[in-house]
Symmetry: C2
Subunit: 188 residues, 2 copies
DNA sequence: TCCAGGTATTTCGATTAGGAATATTACTAA
DNA sequence: TTAGTAATATTCCTAATCGAAATACCTGGA
């Protein structure tokens, strides 16, 4: 949240959510509204953000937040000093492949193909976002991440394609004789 | 959890946790103990799992669970019919790059290098796990996922390397003249 | 004038995380 | 033989988080 505010604009909770949805979609999840509004209050109490109620003519008021120097210092400290955590991945598609023994091979193929198509969609989205390359120096980093995202989803697509090939190879493989009791000895 | 049980062994909550930690580490998170023990009770109540207390000589008892036919049918249904959700990614490293304007360029490099090293470690781990390729047919799918994981982390490593190059390119880039007020017009 | 859709925030229950607490057993080294 | 620590096994508790719905207002178009 402080990271989003660190670009310098005044933002409402609603803005924060929309912007997080939009800008982090390729590499991070976006917190829920309840999370955001609660956190904004805590940030203000902690002195990391300041709010005021914006009352434009014939608009209902909204509370907008700006980051304070202390807040900027706090994100900066986090970005600089927090331990580099490994990325968190929850790959439902791979979980399904992992449970391949429960599915018909054709259904498994379909699932992987759907995932490949999803990756392709993400490539197009990232490419579209990367179009409007601006001259503003602060945007240089988000743009770098956009390029990374493009390549990431290209890799994801290629990986899915590879897996389809592996699946064919598995289907063609001569079946080894079943060992008696094999399934109960799995943990050795 | 049902997926883990679907391989056929009797497992305790503790086993479940350890096995989840070990077998899903490349592509999925592992639920917490509290989650697991609570869920096991619910699964039993729902008729998806059966438990008994194992009391070997001079061992303290432990409750072990097996999957029932209804349980097997439920995971199978999930694996087959549940909508193919996009993978969830929380890439803290990219979040940091995105906030690159808050860091010294050298620190950013260090962070990316650490991430590349992490990817390399994961490649080695996946390779090591893939070594013991078994003949047991049910293992074929986990092994496919292992191969996928290897390639996934290879891509992650290459992507990090690319990003280091991009970073150099950015540093070498002639700085555009700062536009007055540019930072406050970011949202247009 | 009506309705859909976007803006803006709050509320609530359910889920999940994650660590501490509690025991017991197994292994290792002094 | 004993002391210590690592591993096994489960429970408990608090805080974080989700996600969906509820509320309400504003705008634009049919």
């Amino acid at each position: 949240m402080l990271g989003l505010l660190s670009f310098g604009q005044e933002l409402s909770g609603y803005d924060l959510k929309k912007w997080a949805d939009w800008s982090l979609k390729f590499f991070y999840w976006s917190p829920s509204y309840s999370q955001i509004y609660g956190e904004l209050k805590r940030l203000e109490k902690a002195g990391y953000a300041l709010s005021r109620v914006e009352l434009t003519e014939n608009t209902r008021g909204k509370r907008v937040y700006t980051i304070t120097d202390a807040g900027r210092e706090a994100v900066r400290r986090w970005a600089r000093d927090a331990p580099v955590e490994p990325p968190v991945l929850k790959h439902g598609v791979m979980l399904r492949v992992w449970l391949g023994h429960l599915l018909e091979p054709e259904r498994l193929r379909e699932i992987i193909i759907q995932h490949r198509d999803y990756a392709e969609k993400m490539i197009r989205l990232a490419r579209a976002d990367a179009e409007g390359a601006s001259e503003i120096p602060a945007w240089a980093y988000p743009e770098m991440v956009l390029r990374w995202s493009q390549r990431y989803y290209e890799a994801e697509r290629d990986l899915a394609q590879q897996m389809l090939a592996d699946l064919d190879e598995l289907a063609a493989r001569p079946r080894p004789k079943p060992v008696p009791g094999a399934y109960t000895r799995l943990r050795e």
